[in-house]
Every structure is written in C-alpha cells, then in structure tokens.
C-alpha cells in the first residue's frame, strides 16, 4: 500500500471520529415545561418557598462565580489524585493476590461508610479545610476506581491474554497494550460515577468550615434566608454536572468508537 492510500484510510478514520452534534430537543422541552410549571406555582406560594424565575435569575447573575471555579478545582484535583491512587492500588492488588485478599475487604469497608460520617471524621481529624475536603473526596472516590479497574483487568478474556503472551510482551507492554485499553470502558464508567458523586460530596464537605466554594455559597444563602440564592446555586450545580457529564460522554464516544 502506498502512502496516499494510507493517508486516505487515516483521513477516513478521522471523519468517522467526528461526531455530528444532535440538539437535545426532548431535554430542552422538559426543562421548559418545568420552568413554566415552576413559574405558575410561584404565583400561588410565598417567595421564600418557591421564588419566581425572575428572582432566581437575579440571584444567578449576582452569584460569586469564583466559588464555582474553586469547587471545580477541588473536584478535578481530587478526582485526578483518586484516579492515580486507585489505579496504583488496583495494579498492586492485581499483581499480588495476597494484597487483594487483605485489601479488598478494606476497600469495601471504605465504600460502606456513609459520606456524612467521612465529613465528620475529617472535621475531627484535620484542621486544614482544604485537606478535609480533599480527604473526603478521595476516600469516597478512590475505592470506586480501585474496584472498577481491578474487576476490569480480571475480566480480560483468557484468549486475548494467551494471544498477547504468545508474542512475549514485557510486563509493561502487557499492561499498556492489553489490560489498560481493555479496561478503558470500565475506567470511563468509573469517571462518570465519580464525577456526579464528587460534585455532590464536595458541596457537602464545603458546608463545614470552608470559606469558599459552592457549598460555602449555599451556607451564606441559608444564613441570609435567601431562598432564591439557594435555588440559583442548585441550578449552577446541576448545570456543571450536566456539562461535565456531556464532556465525558463525548470523550467516551470518541475513545470507544470501536464499539459502535
């Protein structure tokens, strides 16, 4: 095959990788309907119970959006640390079954502890607020990465393992050429689970002692009895979560295009 043919086939692959944007009509219609119902209800109940959309909008434009960036930075940093830690622990457990036998019950224990307990522990154990928040996020998210990645690696079919081993890969090649790509779907699913988990957990963690972030913004709104602000922050959180999920879905579709 000549270079031209190669280039053509690579170009064809690139075109396949580009995905057309589909307008989420149904989602927009549902949200519009919800907004209309909300506005109608707000005419009949006091504004401190259901504030009108105009009040929420006013709050939305006056929110401290630097708090959103702070919260996002906390979530992303904690998720990256959890991911690296989770992969390291999962690989260690995979390579040494004895570590898995002792480690898995511990991981399951960590997963069984309610988030609110971790928040209380962090307040009792640590003084520095940022460390408290990071601790809670990591202890909640890392076990999900550990379990999903470990199970993903163990689920790689024996036939593919034998095929690759017949070519004599190094340990690192076995990991990078087979185990890692084979577990990519599981890793992406873990990211989606952990992303929504982290957004909810970070807000709760920020309620205790933080002086910045969306959680702190919610505390301020509650102290000022500003119900519109509480709803505005809620809208912001939901929008962030949807946006990040959409981004991850995009990444997933691109990286797993071999499945379609």
């Amino acid at each position: 095959m000549d270079k031209k043919t190669l280039a053509t086939s690579e170009a064809a692959g690139a075109v396949e990788a580009r995905m057309p944007f589909r307008f989420p009509r149904e989602a927009v219609l549902v949200l519009l309907a919800l907004a209309v119902v909300w506005q109608i209800i707000s005419f009949f109940v006091p504004p401190f119970v259901v504030p009108g959309l105009d009040r929420i909008w006013k709050s939305l434009v006056s929110l401290r959006y630097d708090f959103v960036l702070v919260t996002l930075a906390r979530v992303i940093a904690a998720l990256i640390i959890s991911f690296v830690l989770g992969i390291a622990v999962a690989v260690t457990m995979y390579l040494w079954p004895a570590v898995e036998r002792y480690g898995r019950p511990l991981v399951r224990l960590l997963m069984a502890v309610p988030v609110v307990c971790w928040i209380l522990f962090s307040v009792l154990w640590f003084k520095w607020v940022e460390f408290r928040i990071a601790f809670v996020l990591i202890v909640v998210c890392a076990p999900v990465f550990v379990v999903d990645f470990l199970d993903g690696m163990k689920g790689v079919p024996q036939e593919l393992r034998a095929m690759l081993r017949s070519f004599r890969p190094s340990r690192m090649q076995f990991f990078t050429k087979l185990l890692l790509p084979a577990t990519l779907p599981a890793i992406l699913t873990s990211w989606k689970i952990n992303l929504s988990l982290a957004i909810r957990v970070v807000t709760m963690a920020e309620l205790v002692g933080a002086v910045s972030g969306v959680g702190y913004g919610l505390v301020l709104a509650q102290e000022l009895f500003s119900v519109a602000d509480v709803f505005a922050w809620t809208v912001v959180l939901v929008v962030i979560l949807f946006a990040l999920e959409a981004l991850l879905n995009r990444v997933e579709t691109r990286m797993l295009r071999w499945r379609t």
Binding site: M1, A162, S166, F167, R168, L178, W258
Partner: protein
C-alpha cells in the same frame, strides 16, 4: 533473530492436570517423542481431548510440561520464554484480534512489542495486509470485518514478524469451507515462501492432508498413533491412508499403522 534454527525436539513429554472440582489427576499428554526438522510442515490431527491444544500451548511456552522435554532450536520455550520474542507466531482458532485496534493496528501489535520504529511498523503491516487481500480495510475495526477477513488480519499479524516457527491452532475450523480452503492455501503458500517451520493443529483430516507435508496422528491421551509422511505419497496410497487414519482416530489405536517415519 536470536534462534537460527526452528527444529523441534520432543522427548518423553507428558502433561498432567489436577481437576479443579474433583481434584482427580488427568493425563493430557503421555510420553510424546518426535522431532520436526527446520522448515518442515507438520499437521497434528486428532479427536477432541487428545491433547493437541495442550501440546501447542507447551510449544508456545504458555504452559510448563510436567514431564519430559521440548526444545525449539535447542532452547526450551517455557524456561527461556523471552528468547522466542519474534521467533514464534501463532494463529489461533478464533482470530483473537483486539477489538479496540483497527486491522492495521492489530497487525502492527507484534512489531510494537519488538520495538520497531513506527515507520517500519506501518510499512510492514501495510505490506502484509495487502498480500492478504485487505487493501482498503486498514482502518476497519474487527467488528466491521467478516469472519474470513478477521482471520486474514490474524494471519497478517502472525506473518508480519517473519517467524521461524509458525503455529496454527484449529485456525480455519470455524470458517465456511470455501473461506477455510482459501485461507489454508494462503497459509501454506506464505509459510513455504518464508521457509518457516509450520505446525498446524486440526481435528479435520482433510485439512491435515491439504498441508501436504507430514501428519502426526494423536491418540487419547496425547500420544502418537502414527507419524506419516504424505509429501511423496502417490494418490492411490493417499486414498487408503484416509481410511486408515479415520479408523485409528475412531479406535484410538495404532493397530493398522501406516508407513512410519
């Protein structure tokens, strides 16, 4: 290439397993003794459960025999596992392509493991895909290809390293007869062209005969019922041989032993 010769020496080879559930010992291979010369084409034929695939796994180096010795070019494939990198390649029963890699990337895989330069990998993989009639399908993922095309990619992946020893484990048995015959011919032509030693494991006698070299008939548990050279066999003798081998496979006995090497 580290191993210059790919002659295979099998000496009093045996393999025993312990059943996971019952704990009973199962003999998969019993006292195998034979030699395959470098560049020879050999078909191993036998019924299901006669230890063909176990033997192939030992030959690949994936399993350690429980008794006896097997060497390729004087070296043991299990004990000196890394020595055989780029020396040995296998075509399996199912294509075993990595679903997340395109046809081109699947063929490149063994070259990546050998650490060849990216340009060299692309050139060699493209050349083998072309030789196997897969022009225009370089970017296709395995699920976009037919069974025959996938097995062609698997063949290209095996041949691309230009191995001294080529192994095929029921590689064409799952394909329709027309596709299987075409692929068998391609396999034989390419193996001959490369001068590789080729060992083809099959349960189909016709496939073994088509290879046109030597046939090792395996009985249960893995032992040699007959060692037949069909390369210079006259057509009339070939017809009677078919019946004799069929009988041996059915009775699991070498009672009417044909000509031995």
């Amino acid at each position: 290439m580290k191993t210059d010769s790919a002659d295979i020496e099998v000496s009093r080879l045996s393999m025993r397993f312990q059943q996971t559930i019952t704990g009973d010992e199962v003999v998969a291979i019993r006292q195998l003794d034979f030699r395959i010369g470098a560049g020879e084409m050999v078909a191993i034929v036998g019924q299901t459960g006669c230890g063909k695939s176990t033997f192939l796994n030992i030959l690949i180096g994936l399993e350690r025999p429980t008794g006896g010795r097997i060497t390729i070019g004087g070296r043991e494939p299990y004990a000196e596992f890394d020595h055989f990198r780029g020396v040995l390649a296998t075509v399996f029963q199912q294509d075993r392509l990595l679903p997340w890699r395109s046809a081109m990337d699947n063929v490149k895989l063994p070259l990546e493991l050998l650490g060849l330069a990216a340009a060299e990998q692309t050139l060699r993989a493209a050349s083998w895909l072309e030789r196997l009639g897969l022009n225009g399908f370089e970017g296709a993922y395995p699920h976009e290809l037919s069974g025959g095309m996938r097995q062609r990619v698997a063949l290209a992946r095996a041949f691309v390293v230009e191995p001294k020893l080529l192994l095929a484990d029921e590689a064409f048995g799952h394909l329709d007869e027309v596709t299987a015959a075409a692929l068998r011919k391609t396999f034989i032509d390419l193996a001959r062209g490369q001068g590789s030693t080729a060992v083809l494991v099959t349960h189909q006698l016709e496939e073994a005969i088509e290879l046109g070299g030597r046939i090792l008939v395996f009985g249960r548990p893995g032992h040699i019922l007959a060692d037949i050279d069909i390369a210079n066999c006259p057509p009339a003798r070939l017809a009677t041989l078919r019946g004799e081998i069929q009988e041996m496979l059915q009775t699991n006995s070498p009672s009417r032993r044909p000509e031995q090497n």
